[in-house]
């Protein structure tokens, strides 16, 4: 077990190392980073001063080490636009992102799990085909278009829901649905296949053999086990949601970390863009490790693999 955890942590460290190296190199390969770091319209002398201040005349290796050191300290520099440390900005937006992601997750599970189970119970039936169409549509509709259509319908025509901003329960509904819709399709697909697998297992056959009503077999015996992979995926997707919400947050002017990234791009606020990507990527690496380790704790077979 310890060996497994250590190796997994080692891989995660390598991932983080490559992640930071990629971002570091890309910024430099694309040209002089001072162009990105300096505010638009700065003079030649300002740029030279900044270059010296950032130590861009030093060897690459030295530059990389200091970049990593700053990141580890949580020092991502100051936002040009807000003039506050980027990390503070990011952390202040995080609760909004979490609220949005959790609501979206609730929507996606409420939609995805029952439809997935129905599709599995009635394989090849009407529900199954309806589920397939639903999944296909969910995966083919860009979330921002879903959002725009919802604004059109619920805000402009019906006037029921506010079209942008945050602050009340009503504000979170539409962005959460637009974001959750895509994931609902993914959760439905997984619930279906996981349920099918469980329904074919020996203990479900036994439950049926001993004469349990079908509702109990599915509701009590199959459901719980079929849910494990779905909930694992949901855990990973929650972090993913925070990080792919950029477009939905932009549509609804939702003040989360995605919107921060968008503002970073719009205002040429490079430290904000860089920090969003580094932090978002790290979050995902960490969650993947935690999930892998939890899996190994639950299922000993995984520990001995390879």
């Amino acid at each position: 077990m310890r060996r497994f955890v250590l190796r997994r942590l080692g891989y995660a460290l390598i991932s983080l190392f490559l992640l930071s190296l990629t971002i570091f190199l890309l910024v430099r390969v694309s040209g002089d980073p001072t162009v990105l770091l300096v505010e638009p319209g700065a003079s030649r002398a300002d740029m030279d001063a900044l270059r010296a201040e950032l130590g861009l005349d030093r060897p690459m290796v030295v530059q990389y080490v200091s970049f990593v050191r700053d990141v580890l300290r949580g020092d991502f520099g100051r936002s040009f636009y807000y003039r506050t440390p980027v990390l503070e900005l990011y952390v202040s937006r995080l609760p909004n992102s979490l609220l949005l992601a959790l609501t979206a997750m609730a929507f996606s599970l409420i939609l995805g799990i029952p439809t997935g189970i129905l599709a599995a119970v009635r394989v090849g039936g009407w529900w199954d085909s309806a589920g397939k169409v639903f999944a296909l549509l969910g995966l083919s509709m860009p979330s921002f278009w879903t959002g725009l259509l919802m604004i059109l319908f619920f805000s402009v025509y019906l006037g029921w829901l506010p079209s942008s901003g945050a602050g009340s329960v009503l504000h979170v509904l539409m962005p959460a649905f637009a974001l959750g819709w895509y994931f609902a399709a993914a959760h439905m697909r997984l619930t279906r296949s996981s349920m099918l697998e469980v329904l074919g297992s020996e203990y479900v056959k036994l439950a049926r053999l001993k004469g349990l009503p079908e509702a109990l077999v599915i509701g009590k015996h199959a459901f719980k086990n079929a849910l494990i992979p779905v909930l694992t995926l949901a855990g990973i997707n929650l972090v993913l949601m925070i990080n792919v919400a950029v477009v939905v947050e932009t549509v609804f002017a939702w003040p989360g970390v995605g919107r921060l990234l968008y503002e970073g791009i719009a205002f040429r606020d490079f430290p904000v863009v860089q920090a969003s990507v580094v932090l978002g990527g790290s979050m995902i690496v960490v969650v993947n490790v935690v999930v892998d380790i939890l899996y190994a704790v639950i299922d000993p077979r995984i520990r001995y693999e390879r």
Binding site: T22, L26, A130, M141, V244, V247
Partner: protein, 299 residues
């Protein structure tokens, strides 16, 4: 859900398409291919098909509704946008942008991913380690966010978008192709080639590559939808195709300006185009997967 309620006829069409595709999985998926062919035709002959110049508008004719609504004219079938440009013409030229960017990006990603996948799978040892760890690190970044980051660095242009999408999405190919190569490597024809004295490069080029091409094609078709949505999202955010150009994502961003005033045609039509193209690519990809590559069926 209610969003789709007014569009029930479209859903019914999709149901039909799906039925058709699943019952006739032996035959060609006609509807997806037809959609792609029509869009491809429009993309190639945009100059001749489009009734107006897509980049020039008449300000006095701004926000004209589609022809069948009071106030619309047959001159502008699908209405005009916020600076009086013809929506239909922009949609037609938009097909060109989406197709071009989509196909080139998928090809580029496929090329990088297939080459790296074959190298990792066949050579193994440290080459495999380096490539696969790089793939892991790459996969850790949410694709969209990574693409935005790259686009913010290099600035918007169609060429850059192709490169960016290729750089973001090669990992999917690399993973799958590597797995495929690992099993191909143990097959008799490869062993015989080794015995016959073929060099590693010859084996990879002549014996491995042709055998993973089917998988690569299936992946490419399935990736086409993802790539087109990502391009639309980037354009929507203003880091994709640069403004005067008619790209569907850009049209949605422009359409947002008239959204609160109820100018629905600026939001609905470009979105329908994106969904149609992505649906067609996904359906075709699903069919190809079953047809060309039995091993990928459970993917």
């Amino acid at each position: 859900m209610s969003v789709n309620a007014p569009a029930s006829s479209r859903t019914a069409g999709v149901t039909l398409a799906w039925r058709w595709a699943s019952y006739h999985s032996e035959g060609l998926p006609v509807i997806p291919i037809l959609i792609l062919l029509i869009l491809g035709f429009l993309a190639i002959f945009a100059e001749f098909v489009a009734p107006h110049n897509p980049e020039v508008g008449t300000l006095s004719l701004r926000f004209r509704p589609p022809a069948w609504i009071a106030g619309g004219s047959s001159e502008y079938l699908l209405g005009t946008d916020h600076i009086g440009r013809d929506v239909l013409s922009r949609l037609i030229f938009g097909a060109r942008v989406s197709m071009l960017v989509g196909f080139l990006a998928v090809l580029f990603a496929g090329f990088v991913g297939t080459v790296l996948g074959i190298l990792a799978g066949y050579i193994g040892s440290w080459v495999d380690q380096v490539i696969m760890r790089l793939t892991d690190a790459w996969l850790a970044l949410p694709a969209l966010m990574f693409a935005i980051f790259l686009a913010a660095i290099v600035g918007p242009s169609e060429f850059n978008i192709v490169i960016i999408l290729g750089l973001v999405y090669w990992t999917r190919y690399a993973r799958v192709i590597r797995g495929e190569v690992l099993s191909l490597k143990e097959r008799d024809f490869v062993r015989l080639a080794i015995v016959a004295g073929c060099s590693k490069w010859t084996i990879m080029r002549r014996h491995i590559l042709p055998n993973v091409l089917n998988t690569a094609i299936v992946l490419a078709t399935l990736m086409l939808g993802v790539v087109i949505v990502t391009e639309a999202a980037l354009s929507f955010l203003g880091v994709g195709v640069p403004p005067p150009k008619p790209a569907w994502g850009l049209m949605l961003a422009d359409g947002k300006k008239g959204l609160m005033a109820g100018y629905w045609w600026l939001t609905v039509f470009p979105g329908v185009c994106i969904v149609l193209m992505v649906l067609a690519a996904n359906l075709l990809g699903d069919w190809l997967r079953v047809k060309l590559d039995p091993q990928l069926r459970q993917l």
